[in-house]
Symmetry: C2
Subunit: 321 residues, 2 copies
């Protein structure tokens, strides 16, 4: 059954059950704001053949990843999610089941974080496009911005990087992972298909009450995040320690490029005082690490056993155009 | 100069000046909420060749109309705008000037209503798609919903309907308006290219303190709005009076179908007690009218001099698929 067989009204009826009760059906959704909180808003657009492909991603996984990417942006601002809107454009020959699976994936990811779909729009297009806006609430005193890093602070990655890129490789070239165990394969593929936004980090940060903090998520890669924080804050960085997930080092002899620029791991990259960073990494476990520290000059250095590499010259992060 | 000549970073630099200061450049925008207000969220997606066309609409007009459509949804909920996010996908061969004009149109419309662009996303696609989410704030006691109409109330249209459809006709078939004066032509074309969302109605409604109110905007046509309010509220309606803009009646001998189903006039259709409706129409002027009243049965009747027409059988409103 295709969309053209049931029309817009029929499709809406099938989508409503995936949305939070009482929010859809009017010109807009009405949400209560928690008192004394600021609103955080973030938007992401995913396009067929650019951000996802039937070859590597089921509609449920597209939904999950789209929700995860947006929740990750909220986490990066220190915000608790209030809900998302979904603007979906697609050909009228799309299977209705495809749309339902997409919304199922969105809902499944969101419900893990006690939030859901609160509205959206549907329309016809030659290209499937999923435009998501996520809304969150933050105590303005605890919002995390990019431009607040100070020199001499620690740079923390909240978990393993490069695993999503490894999972993508296994999906694109299944032969490349022949020597891997099934557990390793699944670890990497799940990191790509079902990333977990790090909203779990926020309560820990609130407890630690860092005197200053800067951060963003690593959706465009670990290096991109470090570089953006440094540029916005007017500091430099020395990266000394790139922890590598065991499964990843078994897939690729030298996986450090994927760790730096693979992208889509949806971890947080945080910059904060060294003593607090140590407690944070200890509390987080599983791949979380102090990957380097900020410096007063503006260069971005990767300090390896065989010498320093200027990261801004040697690597380029993902560019959308 | 095309997008591929300046890349994503170059394009972002050109777009930032069109955004509200201090909101863009992080993973999300942070907005202060006015105290004791609920958040209203609405999303609209516009697709090239479906919702707009180079033939009838300049990029500045696409931007204006996209902003107007979203502000109209906020007005329909009784909400004051806080800002919009723009998710734009487009081919890398798009002219940079096209993108700047689009953002100029968005900003020009928004600034008329003391609001602006607070964030967004850019990405590559074969099809130009503009996904907008608008945010607003409403006193929860004064939110306007569709499902609150009572029988025996008046149905008010806040201004002329059908003018946008008339303007579109003049753009598609310039010969059709040969007998019109230049003022008439411009009235209709402007109604299509530069619609004005009716946020100006909200302060009047707040003053009138209606004991009950239901409403939505008429983006999909006057008939669609009446029909949706009635269905959501479990009432019927008799439409008796379809005011027709003089310019429209000079373009088309029998323009009532355009008045009912033309769409994209972005007026408000409100249902409220008759005595308050009379004061409201008096205050609004310019095309505002009581177009009919609600009834206890569920039928939708157009009462004409030559007899009743069952509107749900005789007309179909705009369907997106």
């Amino acid at each position: 059954m295709q969309i053209k067989d049931i029309g817009e009204a029929g499709l809406l009826q099938r989508i409503f059950p995936f949305c939070l009760e009482g929010t859809v059906g009017d010109d807009g959704a009405i949400l209560q704001m928690p008192p004394d909180r600021s609103l955080v808003v973030t938007t992401d657009v995913l396009v067929d053949k650019v951000h996802f492909s039937d070859r590597t991603t089921s509609p449920a996984d597209i939904g999950w990843r789209a929700a995860a990417a947006n929740l990750s942006d909220l986490a990066a601002m220190g915000a608790t999610p209030l809900g998302i809107t979904v603007g979906l454009s697609l050909p009228e020959t799309t299977e209705v089941a495809w749309v339902e699976e997409l919304y199922g994936g969105l809902r499944d990811c969101l419900s893990q974080y006690q939030t859901g779909i609160i509205g959206g729009d549907l329309c016809r297009s030659n290209t499937i496009t999923v435009a998501i806006t996520a809304l969150g609430a933050v105590d303005p005193a605890q919002a995390i911005r990019r431009d607040r890093a100070q020199a001499g602070g620690a740079i923390v990655a909240t978990g393993d990087h490069g695993k999503s890129r490894g999972g993508l490789e296994l999906l694109l070239n299944p032969d490349s992972g022949k020597s891997l165990s099934e557990v390793d394969r699944q670890t990497l593929i799940l990191a790509h298909q079902r990333p977990l936004p790090r909203l779990d980090v926020l309560p820990i940060l609130r407890e630690l009450r860092s005197p200053w903090i800067a951060g963003m998520d690593s959706s465009d890669g670990l290096l991109d995040a470090i570089s953006q924080i440094c540029r916005a804050s007017g500091v430099g960085a020395i990266v000394e320690n790139l922890p590598i997930a065991p499964a990843l080092s078994r897939l690729r002899a030298d996986p450090q490029d994927w760790v730096l620029t693979g992208g889509e791991d949806f971890e947080l990259v945080l910059c904060l005082p060294m003593d607090i960073a140590r407690i944070l990494v200890d509390r987080l476990g599983e791949g979380a690490a102090i990957v380097g520290y900020t410096t007063a000059d503006r260069s971005l250095i990767w300090r390896r056993a065989d010498g320093d590499i200027d990261l801004e010259r040697g690597y380029r992060s993902f560019q959308h155009f």
